[in-house]
């Protein structure tokens, strides 16, 4: 299984490569700034859900090597969140910090998106083996439970951004509900086993 991590790593970079290609050749469409920003946001959310899917899928398929992908998926989620945020601040708002602050305070969906970023930040910073050791497994696991509210904020951010056709965010919400529901199930069962 030595190929697994490098292969998934390369695959995970594809959306970015594809975006870069489209940007370079001017095929981001009529509103390239919007396309760039939305596509990065889409992938941030997808990787966040993928990260949350690793454990349930591993338990379901009993395929242990999947566990090694969890950190990578989480970090790719954070990577795309950062790019999404950078494109919003740098490309869309063109570093208009006053406008950014107003958006964060006034616009619920931006507040939620920013909240998602803030929750993910400590998780990314403590993702190294060294940090896990320093924090200790228990504290580390407790801290990384923040990924659940972060994912909820991420989906809510998308949902509230949409003008009228909520079919797409509903799909993300359903996937998230299944992933959280799976954990609730094991959480509810656990005491009975004990």
């Amino acid at each position: 299984m030595r190929w697994l991590k490098p292969a998934v790593f390369a695959l995970s970079l594809l959306p970015l490569v594809w975006l870069g290609w489209q940007a370079a050749f001017g095929s981001l469409g009529v509103n390239p700034v919007e396309t760039l920003n939305r596509t990065l946001g889409d992938w941030a959310l997808r990787f966040l859900l993928l990260a949350l899917a690793v454990t349930p899928v591993r338990q379901w398929t009993h395929w242990a090597p999947l566990a090694r992908l969890r950190r990578m998926m989480g970090l790719f989620a954070f990577f795309y969140v950062c790019l999404h945020l950078a494109s919003y601040v740098g490309v869309d708002l063109f570093f208009d910090w006053a406008a950014l602050w107003k958006d964060v305070v006034k616009r619920t969906y931006i507040t939620l998106g920013m909240g998602c970023f803030v929750l993910l930040l400590p998780l990314a910073l403590t993702s190294t083996d060294g940090m896990i050791r320093r924090l200790g497994g228990r504290a580390w696991r407790k801290l990384h439970k923040l990924v659940f509210p972060a994912a909820i904020l991420g989906v809510a951010h998308f949902w509230l951004m949409v003008k009228a056709d909520i079919r797409e965010p509903v799909v993300y919400a359903l996937v998230l509900a299944v992933l959280l529901g799976w954990r609730m199930r094991t959480f509810v069962r656990a005491p009975q086993r004990a």
Partner: protein
């Protein structure tokens, strides 16, 4: 009395032919410059203030939910599906001469004009479009609205056979819009049949649409099949969908934000940096008087 309109954009403001023919490269360049280098300034300098948006962009970036909710959907699904001929419009309500009239008979008696207007979408982007059409006031006059006619209501075609988007109950179909009578007969208000000197394409609301340049784009209803004079204020589709977010007037106003996003500025399609949004989309001289004394924050 015939008040001549004085749109502030004229025929000679239309894109230089060389630039128009070269629009693919222009768009490609715009996208590349904008997204790769982040160097918007150069692009800004290359376009004059109100250069018409390339034909390609005007006809591929559309909000026409009857043909799908993604911007690219209408250009893909509407052509070949929307049957624009024969086309007739039912005119009824508070008028002396109601009736159903064929498109050609509706337009023929009037002077067809080319007018370049800014279009500001409620979503925060804008275009400049050279429309072709007739002044709505001239058309409405023929049906002799009575003294009870205070508003004009417009309805879009709603045919499941032609419009795949109707299967999704995003809005309550058919799409309905309305204007106060004085807004409808304002010399700026255009009943458009074409753009860039050609007949309207299906994705742009063929064969007949409204253009109300000082209001958000959704007021400029597409593919009109019914015009009704009413005494009470029509309930337009977006207001019906969410009256907290969309009002009846929907005048472009940088000081009144959409509850979820700012309306202070806009992205002009083809430009990289946002530009400030103008009160009444820059048509205040022609329309502000109609709203004198009105609280535009309450009547958004």
């Amino acid at each position: 009395m015939l008040i001549r309109p004085c749109p502030d954009l004229r025929e000679n403001d239309v894109t230089d032919h060389a630039l128009y023919v070269d629009r693919r490269r222009f768009l490609a360049g715009a996208a590349a410059v904008g997204t790769v280098l982040g160097a918007g300034r150069g692009l800004r300098a290359a376009t004059s203030d109100d250069t018409p948006t390339p034909f390609e962009a005007v006809t591929t970036y559309n909000n026409y939910y009857e043909f799908g909710t993604a911007k690219e959907d209408p250009a893909v699904t509407a052509p070949g599906r929307l049957k624009t001929a024969p086309w007739s419009v039912a005119v009824d309500g508070e008028c002396a001469k109601p009736g159903t009239i064929g498109l050609e008979d509706l337009i023929k008696p009037h002077k067809v004009e080319d007018r370049i207007y800014r279009l500001r979408c409620v979503e925060g982007w804008s275009m400049v479009i050279p429309w072709r059409g007739v002044q709505l006031s001239e058309v409405l006059k023929r049906f002799e609205p009575t003294s009870k006619a205070k508003y004009v209501e417009f309805t879009t075609l709603a045919d499941r056979e032609q419009m795949p988007g109707l299967r999704v109950p995003v809005l309550d179909w058919p799409y309905v819009e309305g204007l106060r009578l004085d807004e409808a007969v304002n010399p700026l208000t255009l009943l458009a049949t074409g753009l860039y000197g050609k007949d309207l394409l299906p994705q742009n609301g063929a064969p007949l649409r409204l253009v109300v340049p000082w209001k958000y784009g959704f007021k400029s209803i597409k593919s009109i099949v019914r015009i009704r004079f009413t005494e009470s204020q029509p309930l337009n589709s977006w207001q019906k969908y969410n009256r907290r977010e969309y009002g009846f007037y929907s005048n472009v106003n940088p000081d009144v934000d959409h509850p979820r996003w700012s309306q202070a500025n806009e992205r002009r399609i083809g430009e990289f940096r946002r530009r400030p949004t103008l009160m009444f989309n820059g048509y205040g001289d022609q329309v502000a008087a109609m709203y004198a004394g009105m609280d535009l924050k309450a009547n958004f």
